[in-house]
Symmetry: C2
Subunit: 130 residues, 2 copies
DNA sequence: TCGAAAATGAAAATCATTTTCATTTTTCTC
DNA sequence: GAGAAAAATGAAAATGATTTTCATTTTCGA
């Protein structure tokens, strides 16, 4: 009989995925905070969160985001959750942008590049700051 | 008579702009290396490069790029130089992408967001790695 | 149940970037 | 021009996010 697929390391990865379902564009330490509050019986360290995130990124389940504020944020890399962001460079407001410019382009590069994820961010001044 | 516009701080900023004309998506320390080689009479420190970059970003002359490798890269934020990137997540090859998905979207958000710059990157496997 | 392989957390290390601070350079005023 | 105030500079220290190390614990197949 085939062995069941290994469940190794999957517990912390699942916990991180669960956090990312709840907390949008979360940093590693925001994920840890969320886990501490909601999974009180589970003991997790920041190190494990980083390790889980790195694995999830390597397997294209999660994508990293950079809002140019010195920390990496993470999002689920699923079609259903797909969206982009507008980041205010003055007050750091993050707004979700449901438009995606990508579909057009995917076609055009698909012969030479196998896309795992893409990022698209607008930086500028939000309505209050401009 | 009006005072001439201040030239303060402009020397290092100009040197950095010159470097960015020559070196595409350069990191701060790559810029410093370039300045050391090409501007032998000019003494510049990494600190000054960072300061100049921060000012150039704040004034929208330069935009920061994140290729998810732990360092920030910089590019001129000019229409003429405008392009995007495809980053291979395995071998780190960076390819220039001349397609831009942006023009469409700019129109749609222009009433609520004053855009300073935008980033668009594809992450995946290049032709050799896939 | 045993043992190998992998996962874990705490602490230390790393490394890009920022801050501090004393010094030098620039610019404005007289 | 000379002198003073403001800003720029570099070196070194500080910061802070992320990774690595390493000793211990957990998992899972045999």
């Amino acid at each position: 009989m085939e062995n069941a697929p290994s469940l190794r390391n999957v517990k912390s990865q699942n916990a991180v995925l669960e956090a990312l379902h709840q907390v949008n564009h979360a940093t590693a330490s925001e994920i840890l905070d969320w886990l501490k509050v909601t999974q009180k019986n589970m003991k997790v360290s920041l190190t494990s969160v980083y390790r889980a995130l790195n694995h999830l990124v390597a397997t294209s389940q999660v994508k990293p985001l950079n809002f140019n504020d010195g920390q990496v944020r993470y999002e689920l890399n699923t079609h259903a959750m797909h969206h982009h962001h507008m980041i205010c460079t003055k007050c750091n407001l993050i707004q979700v942008l449901d438009l995606c410019p990508f579909d057009d382009i995917a076609d055009k590069v698909k012969d030479t590049f196998s896309i795992q994820y893409h990022n698209f961010e607008l930086f500028g001044l939000c309505g209050n700051c401009k």
